[in-house]
């Protein structure tokens, strides 16, 4: 299966670990993610105002790029991109008058009718590949690894956009179980990490992430699995700041679900780019015999 893929800004730099591991792991399952030849920033956050049409143009243009590739689907890895692109498309479908105005504005591009479905890789794994097939591809089951999945906000909310039940999602759990991991359910898995406040209100993020990680640890998790580069930055890099704010806090590694797939599929360790992690996961993985 070939599918156009939209990376978004961060996957090319700080979240290269997400991109590389995802592309490699998907390939094992017969999914070829082909990067759009031309793409632009999605805007990272969906505009919540009713009178800001300009902010819809960025995401819509990316959807047109998928259309240009002859596809009516576009796959994403980053939760923020997924949310922004999918909501923009939803907006575009719902409002005919605004749709017409956006089409008129984009004079070079083809008219867009709202007919590209934005999907997240997790949806493809669940709905098209199936967890049985994932399980069959596992060569090195993550036996004994206690993983707490973390969804954050943008994969789940609002309901019309979410890839799963917005309060009780299970897709990542099912995937991790297929990979052989021990899944730790945590009530904070849908709580926000503090998001963009990380820029000028680091303290807010520190409090949010501290709650999330200590809850996961309290339930016995050794590692957190997620899918968003912003969540990843806050949960992983901000642990240094948490240590300063909260005495006695124990750090823990944070991995993208795709990295865990790559490990379980026994792919070359280089696709995981563990060196990009702030909290090095390798000692834990080694102790579990999952990497050399």
């Amino acid at each position: 299966m070939k599918i156009p893929y939209y990376p978004g800004c961060t996957l090319k730099t700080k979240a290269k670990d997400l991109e590389d591991s995802a592309i490699a792991a998907a390939k094992v399952l017969g999914v070829e993610m082909e990067e759009l030849p031309q793409w632009n920033c999605c805007g990272t956050v969906y505009s919540l105002s009713t009178d800001d049409l300009i902010h819809q143009i960025g995401p819509i243009r990316n959807l047109i790029r998928a259309k240009e590739q002859g596809s009516d689907r576009l796959v994403t890895l980053c939760s923020m991109c997924y949310n922004t692109l999918k909501r923009a498309n939803e907006f575009f479908l719902a409002d005919e008058e605004k749709r017409d105005r956006i089409n008129r504005y984009m004079d070079e591009e083809m008219d867009y009718a709202g007919d590209v479905t934005v999907v997240h890789l997790l949806e493809i794994l669940r709905d098209e590949i199936g967890m049985d097939k994932v399980k069959a591809a596992v060569k090195k089951p993550l036996t004994g690894l206690k993983v707490s999945p973390y969804y954050g906000c943008m994969l789940l909310r609002p309901a019309s956009i979410g890839i799963d039940d917005m309060e009780r999602p299970t897709v990542m759990e099912d995937l991790l179980r297929a990979l052989g991991a021990e899944v730790i359910d945590d009530p904070y898995k849908t709580e926000c990490c503090g998001a963009y406040q990380t820029v000028n209100r680091k303290d807010v993020v520190v409090t949010c992430v501290h709650s999330i990680l200590t809850s996961a640890q309290g339930n016995g998790a050794e590692v957190v699995a997620l899918s968003c580069p912003l969540c990843d930055f806050n949960l992983d890099n901000r642990q240094k700041d948490i240590q300063q704010a909260y005495a006695g806090f124990h750090t823990m590694p944070v991995l993208y679900f795709t990295q865990l797939m790559a490990i379980a599929f026994d792919l070359d360790e280089s696709v995981c780019r563990f060196e990009l992690s702030s909290q090095d996961p390798r000692p834990l993985l080694k102790s579990k015999g999952l990497i050399a």
């Binding site: 978004g8 800004c9 961060t10 730099t13 700080k14 979240a15 920033c41 805007g43 990272t44 956050v45 505009s47 919540l48 105002s49 009713t50 009178d51 800001d52 902010h55 980053c78 923020m80 954050g152 906000c153 909310r157 609002p158 309901a159 917005m166 849908t190 709580e191 926000c192 503090g194 998001a195 963009y196 406040q197 990380t198 820029v199 000028n200 209100r201 303290d203 807010v204 409090t207 949010c208 709650s211 580069p229 912003l230 930055f233 890099n237």
Partner: protein, 136 residues
């Protein structure tokens, strides 16, 4: 503090603008507080989300101008998806940000003022989203 209510207040320019930008009917809110109860950033807000809407219902623009709540808001949508009356509170928070940001020189964060080490440390996704929320 005392609030003086009149028609010019509760149906004033401020209320109209917030409702227009957000596309939400403020009076749909019946003050159950569920948004505040679940807000993950509320610990840092000086006025909780339900009180923000309450003040907006009463047309208290000046009071709200002083609040930090909507600058702390994470746009995580937890409030929105749990609101029993279907009020998109995140949109109201966005509208309150925009009411300020759309005034000249009222950016909360200036891109040019961000220190270099921060720009190096942070992923793009953080910088772009922050500027989208904090500047006009």
């Amino acid at each position: 503090m005392k609030i003086r209510l009149s028609r010019d207040r509760v149906r004033g320019e401020f209320v109209k603008r917030v409702e227009m930008i957000s596309g939400q009917d403020l009076l749909q809110c019946y003050q159950c507080g569920k948004c505040s109860a679940g807000c993950p950033a509320a610990f840092e807000m000086d006025i909780l989300p339900s009180h923000v809407i309450r003040l907006a219902q009463m047309g208290q623009g000046e009071e709200l101008a002083k609040a930090n709540s909507y600058w702390i808001c994470l746009s995580c949508q937890t409030c929105t998806v749990r609101c029993p009356r279907g009020v998109d509170i995140a949109k109201i928070m966005e509208a309150l940000r925009l009411v300020t940001l759309r005034q000249k020189n009222r950016n909360k964060v200036e891109a040019t003022a961000l220190p270099m080490e921060l720009l190096v440390e942070l992923p793009q996704i953080a910088i772009v989203s922050n500027l989208r929320k904090m500047s006009g």
